[in-house]
Amino acid sequence: MVDTIYAEDEIIGTKKAQEIISKFRHAKVTSIKRFGEVFNPSNQNFRIQKTNPALILAKKQKGFVLDAPKGFGIGDQNNYYFSHMYNCLYDCSYCFLQGMYNSANYLVFVNYHDYQNEIAKTIKKHKEEKITFFTGYDCDSLAMEPITNFINDFVPFFSRYKKALFEIRTKSVNNTVFRKHDPLANCIVAYSLMPEALAQILDKKAPSVSARIKNMKYLANKGWRIGLRFDPLIYCSNWKAQYAELFANIFKEIKEENIHSVSFGSLRFPKSFFNKLLQYYPTSEELSFLRSNDKGIISYDQSIENEMNEYCRLELMKYSDARKFFSCG
């Protein structure tokens, strides 16, 4: 899988770095001063790098816990996110990471304790207030779990902070780590979903939607709480029928009481991200419906957005309590 590892001098000798390196016996390990030497140079091409991504092991220096964007959340008043990793094993065509980063290399920050210290401080700051921490936005944490052991480290950590919600956003069907731990009431395993036919075209290298539903059912039966994330909603010629079928398939398998929250939001990008994506995927019909709006964001026409949100809301209300519904942006 990975034949090149770059490791910062400062962390190459740490237990976590060595644990990860030992999983790639045939990879060439090259020492670097700071990850930015490899990850940040401009003039790199994301799509070409995606043909053979390297793994970069680094130490996060600052910005461990960040405010979630305004309006983003699943019910709590305080929302934060943190990223121990940038870039993803999967290769979804609409993924904003391709527009955001110059490099497709997998960057893993191995100093998990520093993240945990900052999270603990943030929880303390909010005392009795409700607070949610999101992970899996700059990577798919669960997909990389066999390499990073991130969830294995963070589930026990969050078990000490019952008032803080911990959301793991994923498309992975790897459930090994959830079998090792008892279900945690404040942990949400949130699945990104879209109609199967669209996923077959767009969610490259990711498990099929039916496999994701099967895994959600397995986890729900084990007692884990499930999040449904229809983000992004994708507009296409027969989207109504496709989404109706998707919702029906999910709720045929999973009991409503196992669902913690449902959120949805339509496809949108900052302009610079979109321009890169259009260059990478000139033949994508899905990208052909997007336009620049007056806020400089590339999205569907407002009427399409409203129609999709409204339709999906009404359709989902057939199966789930609308108080569990949240908007993604």
């Binding site: 034949d3 090149t4 770059y6 060439k28 090259t30 670097i32 001063k33 030497e37 490899v38 140079p41 003039n43 790199q44 091409n45 799509r47 070409i48 790098q49 043909t51 053979n52 991504p53 390297a54 290399n105 321009n275 259009l278 260059q279 990478y280 000139p282 033949t283 994508s284 019909e285 990208l287 052909s288 419906f289 336009r291 026409d301 399409i304």
Partner: protein
């Protein structure tokens, strides 16, 4: 071998000395097209050029920039620095592909992209660029006199993934440097030419990906010839035509354009059509 009919092929070799370049020149049928300030060679059918830079970092930078201008190299061009190096870690005659480049004069290090190493089974090694021939080989890696200078410039004119440094081990600790003559170097290179071709083929595959990303959408040139578009209108037109091709592959956008339409009206027409 290289697909001659693929329009995106564009390759530039930067090599210090004739002895190092001879087999490459022969293998890719290049002919001399200039003598000063640097000897330059070119294949008559392909957009493939080679320059003899002479020894040292300054020469490498000067030759690379000269060839960039002289050959009108596009952004989507493969740049390869090839030559002989000394090392204590490899056997004489080994071909190595460079994955880290350092210089005794500069702080920054460079890391050629792993995309270029995929599936070629060629040994990888770090390169230390020095200012005079190395005899002690105190550190692991390969020692040369051009790689750092070459890469520092080439990475500005081409994507990282298309810039590669490829070397053959010619000397190790204790080698009598006076015995490394042109003939001996040519033999070393000729024995590895098939592997060098393989590296180039891999780079050409990457170049194809980029070529498809960078080319203008169908009908872009024709429409720009018909009406006067400003720079920013051209950017929008390029975007709309890309989306048009994806959405209406069988509809010719030229047929949507009325004779008296202005550039803005054309863009509006495309935009309205693409809304749903």
């Amino acid at each position: 071998m290289i697909e001659k009919n693929f329009e995106g092929v564009s390759v530039r070799w930067v090599i210090a000395l004739k002895g190092e370049a001879e087999e490459i020149i022969k293998n890719y049928a290049m002919k001399r097209v200039a003598t000063t300030p640097f000897p330059v060679y070119k294949n008559k059918d392909l957009d493939m050029w080679l320059i003899l830079s002479g020894i040292g970092q300054l020469n490498a930078v000067a030759a690379t920039s000269y060839l960039y201008v002289k050959s009108d190299a596009s952004y989507n061009t493969i740049w390869i620095n090839f030559g002989i190096v000394g090392s204590r870690n490899f056997k004489v005659g080994d071909l190595i592909q460079i994955d880290k480049i350092t210089s005794i004069d500069f702080q920054d290090n460079y890391y050629p992209s792993p995309s270029a190493f995929k599936n070629n089974n060629i040994e990888r090694c770090n390169l230390i660029t020095v200012n005079k021939p190395e005899k002690l080989f105190e550190n692991d890696g390969a020692y040369d006199m051009e790689g750092y200078g070459f890469f520092s410039f080439a990475k500005k004119i081409a994507p990282y993934e298309l810039v590669s440094v490829l070397k053959i081990i010619s000397d190790a600790p204790g080698t009598d440097l006076s015995k490394i003559d042109k003939h001996r170097v040519e033999i070393l290179v000729s024995k590895k030419i098939q592997f060098i071709e393989k590296v180039l083929e891999n780079l050409l595959d990457l170049q194809k990906i980029l070529f498809l990303q960078l080319r203008d959408p169908k009908y872009f040139d024709e429409i720009c010839l018909q009406k006067k578009f400003t720079f920013s209108q051209k950017v929008t037109l390029r975007k709309y035509l890309t989306q048009w091709q994806a959405r209406f592959p069988l509809r010719n956008p030229l047929e949507e354009i009325g004779q008296r339409m202005t550039a803005s009206q054309i863009l509006k027409k495309f935009s309205d059509n693409l809304l749903r």
